[in-house]
């Protein structure tokens, strides 16, 4: 079995009396799609925020590719190959859709202390951005101000920005939320195509997508991992059903 | 001896703090809670004092003056709201800065045309005349005690309204997301108008109360405005409690700095050098305080919860 690229060891985070991440151990192997599911407020986003660096854990370690990144600033983690999407849309509203993605590409194509050359002439950034927009199906919105996109389109842009940094590990926080059925299906396909190339940590409430994509599923409830395993096993787990899945039909 | 002086200065610092809060109260509401950068707060304070000069001239009675000046400040505040402020609620902060700066220019000059450039004044009420002796030959004016009471009352009242009443909730909600609030059936425009009118009244009230100890002159609000912003920012924008504590802190630091900074420098500097450095440092002390606070706590001492 391959070494994990991303490993959480005894991660803890509390807000006052509320423990949101309660001693979480998690290992994500290279090239897999690892889903984290759990009820609302279970601590999934907080977990991703700690991996991404937006939130500092109280205790525990985060190891990326063998390096402890627990205390590393956000941007430095990004340079180690960590990219993410946000559950609550987080884009550059005043930039064009294309520039949103291009600036993400720029972050990983040499340094940005270049004061003279017009960035608009850097066609490689543009091309890379266009490819990513194509992947999520936003090419015809490329020149629109990102703030003027519809909600669903912004969600798609989120993914494109994450992809543009050409990451090793992709953290996706509810990428399917807010997109229509068609887009969900398309995104599922896209992620399927990325399998093996990227390591993906997927947080999602759309069970159709989760069970179609995940190689491994961890179930988080009240900040603790209560179950982990192959999709079939999780689906059958009565505890998971009662805490989270309910009786909803899964296609 | 020095012990007594120190105690007196601490007292002076606290009273200056309460006074600062009184002056900053209206701005705490309009800028802190409602999130509207109102640079005109200072001139509204000034207007309160000038109105009081006029009403005192007419009535010769302090309490009648307070009531009349408050009413007039409210009316003028509402007029300003209708003519200027309401058009800028949904604009960005810098547009608000520019527009309210226009109001400053207009009112400062207007006051000069109407009341002249010379400093004016009116006395406090007779029943608050006199001083309580606290040191030999030095008394604490009773009027100042009344000011402290007024400041404390403002602080408490404001805190209750903002944190404990539905109106307070609506103001905070409106500041964060006016469109959504109106979609839930609240007339945000009217709400803001009321808040603004109230803020104008508070500013005017501070002006009226300040008149008997400070001179009433054009531009008297400009320095006060900056102080009020300093207080709010140190306290953490949006927090009444923060603004109050920050006002006390600023009052204390400023007073103690003015009183003892030069003496402290004299301990290890030539007297003439100490007289150079001491007052310079004392003048900038509140700014040093603000920079220091923001360095360690970039959103002030007690930032309002949920605000980034």
């Amino acid at each position: 079995m391959a070494d994990p690229v991303l490993e959480l060891k005894g991660l803890k985070k509390s807000y006052g009396a509320l423990t949101v991440t309660d001693d979480v151990d998690l290992a994500v192997r290279a090239g897999v799609i690892h889903a984290v599911i759990g009820p609302n407020g279970a601590g999934k986003t907080t977990l991703i925020n700690q991996i991404g660096g937006q939130v500092t854990p109280d205790d525990g370690d985060i190891v990326l590719d063998g390096r402890a990144v627990t205390a590393m600033p956000v941007h430095a983690r990004s340079h180690l190959g960590l990219a993410r999407s946000f559950q609550i849309t987080n884009i550059l509203p005043g930039f064009s859709t294309l520039d949103n993605v291009a600036v993400a590409a720029q972050a990983h194509a040499g340094h940005s202390f270049r004061f003279f050359r017009p960035v608009a002439r850097e066609t490689n950034l543009r091309d890379r951005a266009m490819t990513c927009l194509e992947t999520v199906g936003l090419t015809d919105r490329a020149s629109i101000r990102a703030g003027a996109l519809s909600h669903g389109e912004k969600r798609q842009l989120e993914i494109a920005m994450a992809l543009a940094t050409d990451p090793k590990v992709l953290l996706l926080d509810e990428p399917m939320a807010g997109t229509t059925h068609e887009e969900t299906a398309r995104l599922t396909e896209t992620l399927e195509g990325l399998r093996g190339r990227y390591t993906i940590l997927l947080v999602e409430h759309d069970m159709t997508a989760v069970f179609a994509l995940a190689d491994t599923i961890s179930v988080l409830v009240y900040g603790r991992v209560i179950a982990e395993g192959k999709p079939e096993a999780i689906r059958a787990d009565p505890e998971v059903r009662s805490a989270y899945l309910g009786e909803e039909e899964i296609l | 001896m020095t012990g007594t002086l120190f105690a007196v200065q601490v007292l002076n610092g606290l009273q200056l703090g309460v006074l600062l809060f009184l002056v900053a109260a209206g701005l705490t509401l309009v800028f802190g809670v409602m999130d509207f950068i109102n640079l005109a707060h200072g001139v509204q304070y000034m207007l309160g004092a000038y109105l009081a000069v006029t009403f005192y001239g007419l009535t010769g009675n302090f309490f009648a003056t307070v009531v009349l000046a408050l009413a007039a400040a409210l009316v003028l505040g509402l007029v300003l709201e209708m003519l200027v402020f309401r058009h800028f609620y949904d604009r960005d902060h810098l547009d608000q800065v520019l527009a309210t700066f226009g109001v400053i220019l207009f009112l400062n000059e207007g006051v000069r045309i109407v009341w002249g450039a010379a400093p004016l004044s009116y006395p406090g009420p007779d029943i608050l005349d006199g001083a309580i002796p606290i040191m030999e030959g030095f008394g604490y004016p009773i009027y100042r005690i009344a000011l402290i009471v007024a400041g404390l009352a403002c602080a408490l009242g404001l805190w209750l309204v903002v944190t404990r009443t539905r109106v307070g909730m609506l103001i905070r909600a409106g500041a964060a997301n006016p469109a959504m609030l109106s979609a839930l059936g609240v007339d945000v425009r009217r709400l803001f108008m009321i808040v603004f009118g109230f803020g104008a009244m508070l500013a005017g009230f501070a002006g009226v109360m300040a008149g008997p100890i400070f001179s009433v002159e054009p531009g008297m609000g400009d320095g006060v405005l900056i102080l009020a912003f300093v207080v709010i920012v140190i306290g953490g924008i949006g927090s009444i409690r923060g603004a109050f504590l920050a006002a006390l802190l600023v009052g204390l630091v400023d007073t103690l700095g003015r009183s003892f900074m030069t003496d402290i420098f004299k301990l290890f500097l030539e007297p003439s050098a100490a007289n150079q450095v001491g007052p310079a440092i004392a003048s900038m002390l509140i700014y040093v305080l603000m920079a220091g606070v923001l360095f360690f706590r970039p959103t002030g001492l007690f930032p309002a919860a949920g605000r980034s």
């Binding site: - | 002076n12 000069r112 040191m135 100042r144 001179s215 007073t255 007052p279």
Partner: protein, 373 residues
């Protein structure tokens, strides 16, 4: 061309601080100046006057642009006014270098009285230190043993304390420099009370002075500490301090009730025109106009021979409202200085009145450094 020039109006540019709290000072100078021009039939030295009043906003670089406009665009013959020394500092060089006459009606910086004096510059006020020296001398003569000194923390404030100390030899219990624009003096007053001086000497112009006087009074310090001041209790602050200032001392070269014919008619005319008593500043503005009038008249309205004009101005051939007035070698007046105090007139108006003459025909100490060229 002299005759042709004399037919044209005389252009006087007045550079004054007319905005912000100190605007009142500028306003009074302007009113005094305009009053004389009006009384004189709109003429100075026999020529019609075109008066251009500009506001320096108390910003040196604004003053500088404004003064360049006066010089280059309006081609004024005189620049008059100037309330604050930093403004004088900023405009002194361009005005004098363009060989335009500069009549200072208030600011009296030591630099321009001493080593940097200039033949084109004439003051109708005083050299800064003199006013403070009056108080120092008085305190010394009165035998005050302990004096507390307080002034705003800027150059003029420091000069005032130095001026005071030039004549005062007793103990200075403390020297406090307050922030410019200070509002609340509780802390300073407590310090004063704690050090139990015989007298307080202070220089607190404008609104600061109003605040200090009222708070001094409210704290009950007036009973135990003699209040000596400069530019603190005067015609611009008395309407605001009212009773609180009564009996407090100040120093001045002029008061509204000074007993001379020129002053009597000046005060009466001023009250008639503006409805209030003139202040020290109005008197200086008035004298500035008189000075120009006398100088221009002496050369028959022809300003082409600058040296002749200077010579005429140096004579100070006019009846100053302050009585004795002659020019020192540095173009600052030699005049009398008084200890004055605030009183209330029968009709309720407040003004200063002479208590005693402290200096007679007094020149300033910097004059010896002046090498006029």
């Amino acid at each position: 061309s002299g005759a042709a020039q004399a037919a044209e109006p005389l252009k006087v540019g007045m550079l004054l601080t007319l905005s912000g709290p100190p605007a009142v000072l500028g306003k009074h100078i302007q009113e005094g100046f305009e009053l004389f021009v009006e009384q004189n039939g709109g003429k100075l030295g026999g020529r019609d006057v075109e008066l251009i009043v500009v506001d320096d906003e108390l910003k040196p670089d604004v003053a500088l642009t404004k003064v360049k406009e006066l010089l280059d665009r309006d081609k004024v013959d005189f620049v008059a006014g100037i309330v604050f020394s930093n403004i004088l500092q900023a405009v002194f060089r361009p005005v004098t270098e363009s060989e335009t006459f500069l009549i200072g009606a208030n600011a009296g910086t030591s630099t321009f009285a001493g080593r940097a004096c200039n033949k084109f510059f004439f003051s109708t006020s005083w050299q800064n230190d003199q006013i403070h020296e009056v108080m120092g001398k008085y305190a010394q003569e009165k035998g005050f043993k302990k004096v507390f000194l307080m002034a705003p923390n800027y150059q003029a404030g420091k000069d005032s304390i130095n001026g005071f100390k030039r004549y005062y030899e007793g103990e200075v219990v403390d020297e406090v420099y307050t922030k410019l624009g200070n509002l609340d003096f509780s802390a300073e007053l407590a310090k004063i009370a704690a050090s139990k001086p015989d007298a307080l000497f202070t220089f607190m112009p404008g609104g600061m002075g109003v605040n200090l006087v009222r708070q001094f009074n409210q704290a009950g310090l007036s009973d135990s500490v003699t209040f000596l001041s400069a530019f603190t209790v005067d015609g611009t602050t008395l309407p605001a301090t009212k009773d609180a200032a009564l009996g407090l001392f100040s120093s001045s070269q002029w008061t509204p009730d000074l007993d001379n014919a020129a002053n009597k008619q000046f005060v009466a005319a001023y009250e008639a025109k503006y409805g209030s008593l003139p202040s020290l500043y109005s008197s200086q503005g008035y004298d500035a106009a008189q000075l120009i009038d006398s100088g221009v008249a002496a050369v028959g309205g022809d300003l082409s021979d600058k040296d002749a004009v200077i010579a005429a101005l140096e004579k100070a051939d006019f009846a100053s409202v302050r009585g004795d007035f002659s020019y020192n070698n540095n173009h600052f007046p030699i005049q009398d200085f008084y200890l004055v105090k605030a009183v209330k007139r029968d009709d309720g108006a407040y003004h200063t009145t002479v208590v005693e003459k402290v200096f007679d025909d007094y020149g300033d100490v910097y004059a010896k450094d002046c090498r006029m060229n």
